[in-house]
């Protein structure tokens, strides 16, 4: 049943310096995202994961091949308008990715003005409210500006702007990293719902392995510009093959650790099992 939505083949991305030499940021990266699938791209700062995301979104030039959709359109920097609409991006800091001078209604209206093919035929206000409700907001935010919204609400607005255009692929670049923990789980839930209920596929960039485990079907691990390992999330977390993946997983802190004996353990609670 699976059908590829995005296929990256041998992506190479370099930044050209004036003096003539190139810095290769990304080397020979290949992966596939199927319809409705979430692929997490993980790695540390400087690994090239954000650069790959930006290439997929058409923000940086990449050598190699990016093929999109059933029609397998070749994606470059200049891409057909309809294809551009079907790939939307959600950034880390919603406050800097939303225009502070626009109300939420205007932000949505602008998205539809850019992509009239996704614009609602009837009542704009009604359609805007529908979109906001899909991301867990209400009519009450429609006439407000980002400044008067909380960080979590702003991120919902960014997601609303993206899903208003009926995308097939959301590129989420650290989309929950800047949020408070209690709000982070809300946004993760929302993204998981969008995937399950609306079949939106995602390229999910993050450094947080806990977040990956929650949302991703598959994981690709990047180190110094190259993909070192990819696989199904559960399998990769249980039996990482590449030494770098093993290091990453061993470094990840987990609250479940407190269920085992720690430095403050006393004989009474060393059994290390929760009482459930």
């Amino acid at each position: 049943m699976s059908e590829p939505l995005l296929e990256a083949r041998g992506l190479d991305i370099s930044y050209r310096h004036r003096r003539g030499h190139d810095d290769r940021i990304v080397r020979d990266v290949s992966f596939t995202i199927e319809l409705g699938e979430v692929l997490a791209l993980v790695g540390e700062s400087g690994s090239g994961k954000t650069t790959v995301a930006r290439a997929v979104a058409g923000l940086v030039r990449a050598d190699g091949e990016l093929l999109f959709g059933a029609e397998r359109t070749r994606l470059g920097m200049r891409r057909p308008h309809a294809v551009r609409r079907r790939i939307q991006m959600v950034f880390q800091d919603p406050r800097s990715s939303l225009n502070p001078r626009m109300t939420v209604a205007q932000i949505l209206a602008e998205a539809w003005r850019t992509h009239p093919d996704a614009a609602p035929a009837g009542d704009r206000r009604r359609a805007s409210i529908d979109v906001l409700e899909r991301v867990g907001l209400t009519e009450a935010v429609l006439d407000r500006r980002p400044r008067s919204l909380s960080g979590g609400q702003c991120q919902r607005v960014s997601i609303a702007r993206a899903v208003a255009l009926r995308p097939q692929l959301l590129v989420c670049d650290e989309a929950v990293s800047a949020l408070d923990v209690s709000v982070q789980a809300q946004i993760l839930r929302l993204l998981v719902d969008l995937k399950r209920n609306e079949g939106i596929a995602m390229l999910f960039i993050t450094h947080d392995l806990g977040v990956v485990r929650q949302i991703a079907d598959r994981v690709a691990v990047m180190e110094k510009g190259a993909l070192v390992e990819q696989g199904e999330t559960d399998a990769l977390f249980r039996a990482p093959q590449h030494p770098y993946t093993q290091t990453l997983l061993a470094s990840a802190l987990d609250l479940a650790e407190v269920a085992g004996p720690g430095r403050d353990a006393t004989p009474e609670n060393q059994d290390g099992k929760p009482q459930t």
Binding site: G152, A185, R189, H207, I215, S251, D254, L255, A256, V258
Partner: protein, 337 residues
């Protein structure tokens, strides 16, 4: 678990920090906190909870317009009300601070070695002795090739090495207390764990006490002996870290623990807390957490719950804390799958 024999180095009781203005805001409201000698107390809270303000209060660097009232005792001395000169004499020597962003904490135009040696130089250490002391500090915090790194400028080091240099600076005055404000938040995961392990190791070696400020329960669970949970400028819960995380006695702590995504358990999605964090500027009536709390009743809107000792060493500011006793937190574990 609480070993009552270790006396506190830092004792805070009924601490208020007020932001003056036409409508004064009580940023911290009646805060209680202890740091035991040679141990780590973690202060956990979301943005706007006032956790960093508490750190600034202890080190004596409150921003203009904020004033602190209450009891703040460090090594037997009441710090609030001391002259600025006396306060300054603690800073960097007996109480040191590590910030989130090492690049902001370091002077970009000065060599690392000079900055690490600053406190010692102020104490009159010079020449070869100073040089030797700086190199051994850099070595202690695990910086390879210390002689070379001492000559480097901050931008020439990686993020992890920079934070190690900042830790070396903090250690240089042989402080009794280190305040670490989100010291690993800006670092990569692999570096984060190494820095936490370094702090724990330095603590074992030197017996320094630590006040560790963080928004991340996972980090805190790795390093803290005791936990203080702050919500909208008030203490929600206090207790030994492992006990608090296993059986939280405040619904906010419980909700926080359940909202943390787990790495090692492929369980259901972390449970979100509805709404967003309250801030001291518009603190809800009664218990500040009541609009988001699953247990909230009429009394929670009406009365501010007092922070009271529910079990020995375990404090909670919840009207229904008794009901939560013995009920484990919903932390997903591999066994629970």
């Amino acid at each position: 678990m609480t070993d009552g024999a270790t006396p506190p180095v830092l004792t805070i009781r009924d601490l208020d920090v007020v932001l003056d203005g036409p409508e004064p805001v009580r940023i911290l409201d009646g805060v209680r906190l202890d740091v035991r000698a040679g141990r780590t107390t973690a202060l956990i809270g979301e943005s706007g909870s006032g956790k960093s303000v508490l750190g600034s209060t202890v080190i004596g660097l409150l921003p203009d317009g904020m004033r602190a009232e209450g009891h703040l005792e460090f090594a037997g001395e009441q710090l609030l009300g001391l002259s600025e000169r006396r306060r300054a004499s603690f800073r960097g020597s007996r109480i040191a601070m590590i910030f989130q962003d090492p690049l902001a904490a370091l002077n970009p135009s000065q060599r690392v070695g000079r900055q690490v040696g600053e406190v010692l130089r102020r104490r009159g250490v010079r020449g070869e002795r100073l040089r030797g002391a700086v190199l051994s500090l850099l070595e202690r915090v695990g910086i390879p090739r210390p002689a070379e790194r001492a000559r480097a400028f901050p931008h020439q080091l990686s993020g992890g090495l920079r934070q190690r240099a900042v830790i070396a600076m903090a250690l240089s005055g042989e402080p009794e207390l280190i305040i670490a404000d989100e010291p690993t938040t800006a670092l990569d995961v692999t570096v984060q764990k190494r820095i936490l392990d370094l702090l724990a190791e330095l603590q074992r070696e030197s017996g320094v006490s630590m006040l560790f400020i963080s928004h991340d329960l996972r980090v805190v669970s790795h390093i803290a002996d005791d936990l203080v949970v702050l919500y909208a400028g008030r203490v929600a819960e206090i207790g030994p870290a492992r006990e608090v995380l296993r059986v939280p006695l405040h619904p906010y702590t419980r909700a926080l623990a359940a909202s943390v995504p787990s790495v090692h358990a492929a369980s259901a999605i972390a449970e979100p807390i509805p709404g967003s964090a309250a801030s001291p500027a518009n603190r809800p009536s009664g218990c500040a957490f009541h609009p988001r709390c699953p247990l909230a009743q009429e009394i929670c809107r009406a009365a501010v719950p007092e922070l009271s000792e529910i079990e020995p060493g375990r404090f909670s500011a919840c009207h229904f804390a008794e009901q939560l006793r013995g009920v484990p937190a919903a932390i997903p574990t591999e066994e629970a799958r």
